[in-house]
Symmetry: C2
Subunit: 340 residues, 2 copies
């Protein structure tokens, strides 16, 4: 595409966005208008304060129509075949009559310049389907920002009628925790191989998983079976899940579409048992409270650091504490006095 | 002891405490006066705001004379023989010419009514020695409170000339993290046995340990050797320590005094290598910063919750968030607006 043309398009879209009222966005989203949904997401990602106000209004107004979906977090190291897997799974879900939204949380995308899902051609077939909505991770934002935006985007997608939300992330640590806190079910994709795969993904992530799927099993069946066995054993060493769910370990092949039915059978079973036990609902309530508390904590910390008296004292006191000239407690008390 | 007499003594002590100025405490502490040290600790544990002000002054004034010690955290499940081990180790340290303070962090003591170290007869020989100072965990306080107080008590003990600070805790989770954050070296005591001991202590605690000692080895030598082997293997699976330290696994018997020389040889080696590398100092600086930041965070949270507008809105907004009537973000934003 011609670059100047591209920039002109973006300016035009920005102007359109400013003309639109919150109700216009909401009306479009509830009607399932994908262009409007996309524009609302851009609004959410905007850093302009007037856009933020409007974005909050849009999200708030979509909220009563949201929630009616299954939110599936998917993680795995680069090279595990996430995109191909998600494309196959998405197409299968569409075949079953669902509308599928694919989102991503990747706070590194801003740093590396690229972004997961950024290249839609990686999900060529899925992206041409009317029943699918694919949105890359916003670039150049903090993890806190990306996580908040993604959670808001989930609300909009649900209000637009998408009842299967797939949230992709790379297996690098903190972003998993964020995705785990906004999805109902957390799927870990692994490669076939010996007992050392754990090395590639961060500690704690295997424990977060509600299902472990060994991808690319068609290429390395023996290794995949071996991996399945060792993970099944490892999973039994972990403390039982609060959901009461026993973590299944399955083989699959995204590229051949193998094992996907089994995976969907397990997730359906998860939904029905946790809905029956009430866990599905209390888990979502707990997640909402988590984001509530985290947002307050981040906001308080920002107010504190930006307080004129605090910012004047902070560095000196920190230095005194480090050098053992002040106790951490009295130095903290002094700052809190200055703040209040 | 006659109960009324006991109460009369306490009232008398409280009056004496009020009469004393911060300088009086400091003078007594620096002279190594154990009665004054004990009274200053009671001042630290007091919840009266005038006592708090005086306590802060005492700690602050002792600070320049503090820090010249080795702080050893010791944890293990009930029944592992901590008291006997600490008594033997303490006596050995005194033989080597050290002054030993034994403190405890046990936030559950308030709940259960008892307290670890509460019964001094458990360390009968050590408690009669002039070179030892034993102080039980304060009862009826939050973990945050106990941790802060213990850290301040460490400062006072160091100023009073105690150069070996032993901080005991029970292996139940959060209190380990607190003790780990205020000591130079973290010793985990385990019982001899198969590979299942890990079940008894909380996940993550083995990883925090700088040394693992299998206690009561004299009673079950074969099992102890077996345990030593499995923990040595387990330790190798953990990521390397930032201190560069390789975690030794040793056998010991608190009651027979066996293995204590080996343990002290390892801790001496730890001190000399980490002092040489500079880690000993940067680790303490990092700990001070940790308590600084944690105290600020706790204080901010308290200021927030006690703010009249916030406390008026908080519960309703929380309920709205839980019920999905408000997004966690906009609800948090509203509270932050009300606060600032």
């Amino acid at each position: 595409m011609n670059k100047n043309r591209h920039i002109a398009d973006r300016i035009k879209a920005a102007k359109a966005r400013r003309r639109l009222k919150a109700e216009d966005y909401v009306k479009g989203i509830l009607a399932g208008d994908r262009v409007m949904l996309g524009r609302a997401i851009t609004l959410i990602e905007s850093t302009r304060s007037e856009d933020r106000v409007k974005a909050n209004e849009v999200v708030e107004k979509c909220l009563p129509k949201a929630g009616n979906s299954f939110r599936l977090g998917i993680t795995g190291v680069p090279g595990v075949g996430k995109s191909t897997f998600i494309e196959s799974l998405g197409l299968k879900l569409i075949d079953q009559g669902h509308k599928v939204a694919v989102l991503a949380v990747d706070p590194t995308s801003g740093v590396t310049g690229g972004s997961i899902l950024g290249d839609k051609t990686r999900m060529e077939k899925l992206s041409t389907r009317d029943e699918a909505f694919i949105r890359p991770s916003p670039a150049g934002d903090s993890l806190g920002g990306v996580a908040r935006h993604t959670r808001e985007v989930i609300t909009l997608c649900e209000a637009a009628g998408y009842d299967r939300i797939l949230v992709e992330t790379v297996g690098v640590g903190q972003s998993e925790t964020a995705v785990h806190s906004m999805t109902d079910f957390f799927l870990l994709l692994l490669l076939p191989g010996g007992g050392d795969e754990l090395q590639g993904i961060k500690r704690g992530i295997v424990e977060m998983a509600d299902m472990i799927a060994i991808n690319k099993s068609d290429l390395h069946l023996d290794a995949a079976k071996q991996a399945k066995r060792s993970y099944r054993n490892a999973v039994h060493l972990f403390p039982p899940k609060r959901s009461g769910w026993t973590v299944p370990t399955v083989l699959c092949s995204g590229i051949k579409g193998e094992g996907l039915d089994t995976i969907l059978k397990h997730t359906a079973e998860y939904v029905s048992t946790t809905e029956e036990s009430g866990y599905f609902r209390t888990h979502r309530q707990g997640q909402a409270l988590h984001w509530f508390e985290e947002t307050i904590e981040m906001g308080l910390s920002r107010l504190f650091r930006e307080h004129p008296k605090v910012s004047q004292l902070l560095e000196d006191l920190k230095k005194d504490v480090q050098e053992g000239k002040r106790t951490p407690f009295s130095a903290a008390d002094e700052l809190l006095q200055a703040f209040s």
